[in-house]
């Protein structure tokens, strides 16, 4: 019995030292990790909503939010103001070839038109599906909403690029729906 107590105390001591040191490291690195995340978010948002004053607090309610939530896998919605107009950026998740693709779509609901697209996360086939990150492809997705068939897919990456296009089309359709209501 005494043995077990002794062993437990030693183990407990080791665990405490470990927990203490880790806590120290965590306190130290957590702010930096948060900062990095903020920085990345800001970069992406500026990328899809150029020359815009962006509000970095995500929107969690409203017509647009509900419409998007209902039609696509919405992760977050942000608002910005450009030349007096209110524009938005939505980060959505679509199912790609090898897994989920996270897109950030900047749009102007008034027209409605796509202002910019950025791929935040993807795990597609390197060299093929991963080409959805290319500027050429993403730039062609800007502009007014067109029927899905009018968008060009990438040769050799049909499923990956179709997934991205599909995501954009569904998102913009949801935006249209919300606009009609409001």
């Amino acid at each position: 019995m005494k043995d077990i107590i002794r062993l437990s105390i030693i183990l407990g001591f080791v665990c405490s030292v470990s927990a203490f040191s880790l806590s120290f490291v965590y306190q130290h690195t957590k702010p930096i990790i948060e900062q990095n995340r903020e920085k990345e978010l800001r970069e992406s948002l500026s990328n899809v909503l150029p020359e815009t004053k962006i509000d970095y607090n995500p929107i969690t309610e409203g017509e647009l939010f509900d419409a998007l939530k209902a039609n696509v896998a919405l992760i977050a919605l942000y608002k910005g103001s450009k030349d007096g107009k209110t524009v938005y950026a939505a980060s959505v998740s679509v199912g790609g070839y090898q897994g989920a693709i996270r897109l950030l779509i900047g749009f102007d609901p008034a027209v409605p038109e796509v202002l910019g697209v950025r791929v935040l996360e993807q795990a597609e086939t390197p060299g093929l599906g991963s080409r959805i990150e290319e500027e050429d492809f993403l730039n062609k997705l800007k502009g007014r909403l067109r029927p899905q068939g009018k968008y060009d897919t990438i040769t050799g990456a049909t499923i990956s690029s179709s997934a991205v296009i599909g995501g954009i089309v569904r998102t913009m359709k949801a935006v249209l729906k919300a606009r009609r209501k409001g």
Partner: protein, 195 residues
């Protein structure tokens, strides 16, 4: 219902734990020479993955996160898994001797199996709900089993083949696993198409 199927299918086939994510490759190479042990090991893995997922998920959300101790995730999980395996082994030895005879020796090997820790970490990283975690871990285990059994079937046949000496043992197993992995890549895109 559909979501459950997709999570399971993704874990078991699409992103097969062994052939796509390389988790559990050590026991995979070690125990896949014959179908019997392969089946037994798979059973043990599925079982431990499932139970480990339950406990680690609960410990993370009800204990670690609640008190702001997320940084203790790694030590906590691995200790939980190790303890669980010990408990399971003791339990089996006392109350389920038959099961112990079949699965018993594989249990300690599983503790340091990247697959178990991998599943529990993925459950948290991808912010799965409790139900999804369970389905995911089952899928992962079953996927592991499928890969093991196919591998064992092939390796049993290898006994009758002339191999260059340099390739005998692990190298040829890796090459075959590579071909199997290629075959499994064929499933990519199924989920998108099904949706």
């Amino acid at each position: 219902m559909k979501e459950i199927f997709f999570v399971f299918f993704t874990a078991a086939v699409l992103n097969n734990f062994v052939l796509t994510n390389f988790l559990g490759i050590c026991p995979f190479l070690g125990v896949s020479r014959k179908k019997g042990p392969a089946l037994a090991m798979s059973g043990a893995v599925i079982f431990v993955m499932f139970i480990a997922s339950i406990f680690t998920w609960m410990i993370y959300y009800f204990l670690l996160k609640r008190y702001g101790l997320e940084f203790l995730k790694i030590p906590a999980f691995i200790l939980v898994i190790g303890t669980l395996v010990q408990l399971i082994e003791t339990f089996m030895r006392r109350f389920a001797e038959r099961m112990y005879d079949v699965f018993g020796i594989y249990l300690p090997l599983i503790t340091t199996n990247c697959a178990i820790l991998g599943v529990t970490l993925i459950n948290i990283n991808r912010e799965f709900t409790f139900h999804n975690s369970l389905v995911y871990s089952l899928g992962a285990g079953v996927g592991f089993g499928i890969a093991m059994i196919i591998m064992a079937g092939i390796r049993e046949q290898l006994e009758y083949v002339d191999l260059p000496k340099a390739l005998e043992g692990v190298p040829i197993a890796l090459l075959i696993a590579g071909i199997l992995s290629m075959a499994f890549q064929g499933f990519a895109g199924t989920v998108t198409l099904l949706k």
